[in-house]
């Protein structure tokens, strides 16, 4: 008995030490992860609110030295932000609404066990996850469909994704069959069941998929480069930001060159630099995501787990 007690006391002392060391290590690692994740944003915020010429002097790490909103004003005009923003919002909205509606409709039809075409259609959809003809075959398809140079090139090619299909279908399968059964006996058509039962019941999973689709559409830029690079009126915010990034990177390279003096004069005249405008643009492009995302967190964690169950 005494032996056992002694052993236990020894253990608890060791456990206590264990706990303390581990607690400190845990806090340190967690804090540094959070700092590493957030600091780049903080840095961008500082640069975006700091006077551009002052920023080129360097040493700007914790707080703006000379506050200004010139950078935001400048990008607002030069990149035509209100217009680019409206294109970005429009494409995100169109993609999300059409994606959700069509994918859920397909998922419902293909979740019905008695549907005679269920197997072949499901295989076609699932295999599409692995089939990729490549950049230029897709490019020529878009060209042949005369989608290039139009707004719809942002929406039409990405309406159905096999991954979202799996997520939604897995969720529909968890809905008790009896819910649909009685409606069917009452003679409600499948389309009606889809509209008035399936869509409302799928709200949680649709929130997840909506987030995936909207973020994907919001963040896309390569399709603008590929199909709409000569249509300034169809430039999205991310595309404008991409152009600024390329500009600022070539500037920081050439700034190291001999003609840095000429560059400095140039910058002084315009009062802004690509680096500072880019910081302001980054903030504008990121805010919508920061605003929407915390509200959807509880949904997407669930959606990810449903999706990982797959078949």
């Amino acid at each position: 008995m005494t032996l056992k007690l002694g052993r236990r006391r020894y253990l608890s002392a060791k456990a206590f030490l264990d706990e303390a060391v581990f607690g400190v290590a845990k806090a340190l690692v967690l804090t540094s992860i959070i700092l590493v994740t957030l600091y780049p944003f903080w840095n961008t915020i500082i640069v975006s609110f700091n006077q551009a010429i002052d920023t080129t002097r360097g040493g700007l790490y914790l707080w703006p030295r000379i506050w200004t909103i010139t950078n935001f004003k400048s990008i607002w005009v030069s990149a035509n932000v209100p217009h680019a923003l409206s294109i970005s919002v429009a494409r995100a909205l169109c993609s999300t609404v059409l994606n959700l509606f069509l994918t859920t409709m397909l998922a419902y039809a293909l979740s019905r066990r008695e549907f005679v075409l269920r197997r072949p259609l499901t295989i076609i959809v699932l295999l599409s996850m692995y089939v990729n003809a490549g950049l230029f075959p897709n490019y020529f398809l878009i060209k042949n469909l005369h989608l290039n140079g139009t707004f719809w090139v942002y929406v039409v090619p990405t309406l159905i994704s096999a991954f979202n299909f799996i997520v939604i279908r897995t969720y529909i399968k968890t809905i008790p069959e009896s819910l649909f059964e009685s409606a069917r006996i009452d003679g409600t058509s499948d389309f009606r069941i889809f509209i008035s039962f399936v869509l409302p019941l799928c709200k949680p999973v649709l929130a997840t998929v909506a987030l995936f689709v909207a973020v994907g559409a919001w963040n896309a830029w390569f399709d603008t480069l590929l199909y709409n690079s000569n249509k300034t009126e169809l430039f999205t915010l991310q595309y404008q930001l991409m152009a600024l990034l390329q500009q600022s990177m070539s500037q920081s390279r050439s700034a190291a060159d001999v003609n840095a003096a000429g560059m400095a004069a140039n910058i002084a005249a315009s009062m802004v630099t690509p680096v500072s405008i880019r910081a302001a643009g980054t903030i504008i492009a990121t805010i919508p995501i920061l605003v929407v995302y915390p509200f959807l967190q509880k949904y997407f964690v669930m959606g990810m787990n449903v999706g990982s169950i797959k078949e």
Partner: protein
């Protein structure tokens, strides 16, 4: 009433007729999938032609010419090396960091701290590569924080332009991927961890197991099936090293190490207008991808794990 009749055996066409609403709800969408995913495969014929947009698919046939060109092109060899190196680094980093972070988050008992840490670490996943590339380039600039920290630690004497260091590029891409995706990748491991029977931990604690031995002997074996499946599936994507980050961060100085196979395709197609060579490159990648994925899927099935299709 149409669906009720299904329970009785009936001919295919008769059943199809009664299910016409389901047909209308699915077939047009599947036709859409066929148009946008499978029809472009016909474009692979470009790889066997001297494709000129003006002539279209009536361009002259040249057999395997472009594939022969591809495999004898030194640039293609470099590009393959970069692709495989970057995706290997991504794979190793993704797994080790995500599993490590998941284990750490699992040990955080304070709910509020845990959810804050999760919210923050998932966030970068939702940012565009354009934004991320901007953040990376300002962190790594000669007056950026990275140089300041290295100087403070005494590792370097003079600030370096890291994006101008060819050899650093793969690691920049690797760490950028970790920064962006590590939190997101923990979700699946955290779900696996939460399904481990808590009684195992209690038993281990009574037996005097410390934190680390509990992690090693209970948590890690508990999530092993998840790790194995993800590892196999990710090996199937080894030809995909990413495209956007390389495209956005590459420059004249680092391009020997920055160009991946996707960049090669874009460069030949868009800049040089050589669609045939670009398609041959893309086709080579797709075919290798499919073979790898099929193998991965088959191995995964052999091991008694879930299959993807």
């Amino acid at each position: 009433m149409s669906s009720v009749a299904i329970n009785r055996p009936a001919g295919f066409w008769k059943r199809l007729l009664t299910q016409r609403q389901l047909v209308l709800m699915s077939v047009p969408i599947v036709l859409y999938v066929i148009l946008f995913t499978y029809v472009p495969l016909a474009g692979w014929t470009m790889a066997f032609q001297d494709f000129k947009p003006a002539k279209g698919f009536a361009s002259p046939w040249v057999g395997w010419k472009w594939f022969q060109y591809l495999f004898s092109d030194d640039l293609f060899v470099t590009v393959m090396r970069n692709t495989l190196a970057m995706s290997f680094i991504n794979l190793v980093f993704n797994f080790t960091f995500a599993i490590g972070l998941a284990l750490l988050l699992n040990e955080v008992k304070n709910k509020w701290v845990k959810s804050l840490a999760q919210t923050i670490s998932y966030l970068p996943h939702f940012l565009s590569w354009v934004v991320v590339a901007g953040l990376v380039s300002s962190m790594l600039a000669s007056d950026g924080v990275f140089n300041v920290i290295l100087k403070w630690l005494g590792i370097i004497k003079e600030p370096k332009v890291w994006l101008g260091e060819p050899k650093a590029f793969w690691w920049i891409v690797g760490f950028t991927n970790v920064w962006k995706e590590v939190g997101w990748n923990t979700i699946i491991y955290l779900a696996a961890i939460s399904s481990i029977d808590p009684a195992l931990y209690e038993a281990a604690q009574i037996d005097g197991c410390g934190r680390f031995s509990r992690m090693r002997h209970i948590t890690l074996p508990g999530i092993k099936p998840t790790i194995v499946v993800l590892l196999i599936m990710n090996l199937g994507w080894i030809m995909e090293s990413g495209f956007e980050i390389q495209y956005l961060l590459k420059n004249g100085m680092n391009q020997d190490y920055a160009q991946s196979i996707d960049i090669y395709v874009v460069t030949y197609g868009l800049r040089n207008g050589n669609y045939s060579l670009a398609t041959a490159g893309g086709m080579f990648k797709s075919v290798v991808n499919i073979i790898l994925l099929m193998t991965a899927n088959w191995v995964s099935g052999k091991l008694g794990e879930e299959k993807l299709v």
